[in-house]
Symmetry: C2
DNA sequence: CTAAAACCTGACGCTGACGTCAGAGGCAAG
DNA sequence: CTTGCCTCTGACGTCAGCGTCAGGTTTTAG
């Protein structure tokens, strides 16, 4: 599988794939002429990377976590790292939920037929 | 209340407050010499702004939404805007939850006493 | 065999939310 | 009245995750 094909399949740009490699998130075999070749598992891996990015993790953090996910190496540090990120995400979910509820309240107010607004804000 | 005091109380930098004003998110009265002065409600407003930022909204979006929150102006457009952002956040929560569960699975694997790993990944 | 399409390696550009430094003025305390 | 902290307005710096262009090689289709 060449880079363009993988890009299509995983729904990202070719540039992004090269960037992931540069950041140590994705490895590729090279043909004699230097072209990258990927196995079938690559697409799934790219989707995982995207998932972690979309959760707000940085390249550095993902690079730290992926070996834990892959090799099942289980040092106390790696477990701590995973747990820490998990908790960070949990916190973020809580914040987002708060924000969503806040927006819901505003929406309810602006939709409701002129009821007791100020009270509802509290 | 002057800008430094507000910054302390709201837990943000002075620079950030000036930036918020520049983006039209926060207004201040000016003393004769040009110094900013804020009312007591300002701290709460700054925290709201921070909440929205942390939910991934941009300055532009927040600037669009705040008038709806404030003035309770309820045009069809504003309601649509609010609902759209609400849905975006909902989607983001779903993604984060997915990511967290994924991490939980990995953690369970690396913690578990050598059980049937591969099966559990599916 | 050739032209198009895909790939390669730099390397600079971009956006958003500030950090930071420069140079100058304002304000309460001793 | 001056010392020291706070504030002001520019304006440039930063960092991440790519986009994009340049200039050159490689693979594929006809």
């Amino acid at each position: 599988m060449r880079i363009g094909e993988l890009a299509d399949e995983a729904g990202v740009s070719v540039r992004a794939l090269r960037y992931y490699e540069e950041q140590g998130l994705l490895t590729a075999e090279r043909s004699g002429s230097g072209q990258r070749h990927y196995g079938d598992a690559a697409a799934e891996r790219v989707r995982l990377i995207q998932l972690l990015y979309s959760a707000g993790l940085t390249s550095r953090t993902i690079a730290d976590l992926l070996p834990c996910v892959d090799a099942k190496v289980s040092t106390p540090e790696s477990r701590a790292r995973l747990a820490a990120e998990r908790d960070r995400i949990d916190t973020q979910i809580a914040e987002l939920t708060k924000t969503r509820d806040r927006l819901d309240a505003v929406i309810a107010l602006s939709t409701a037929p002129e009821s007791n607004c100020v009270v509802a804000l509290a």
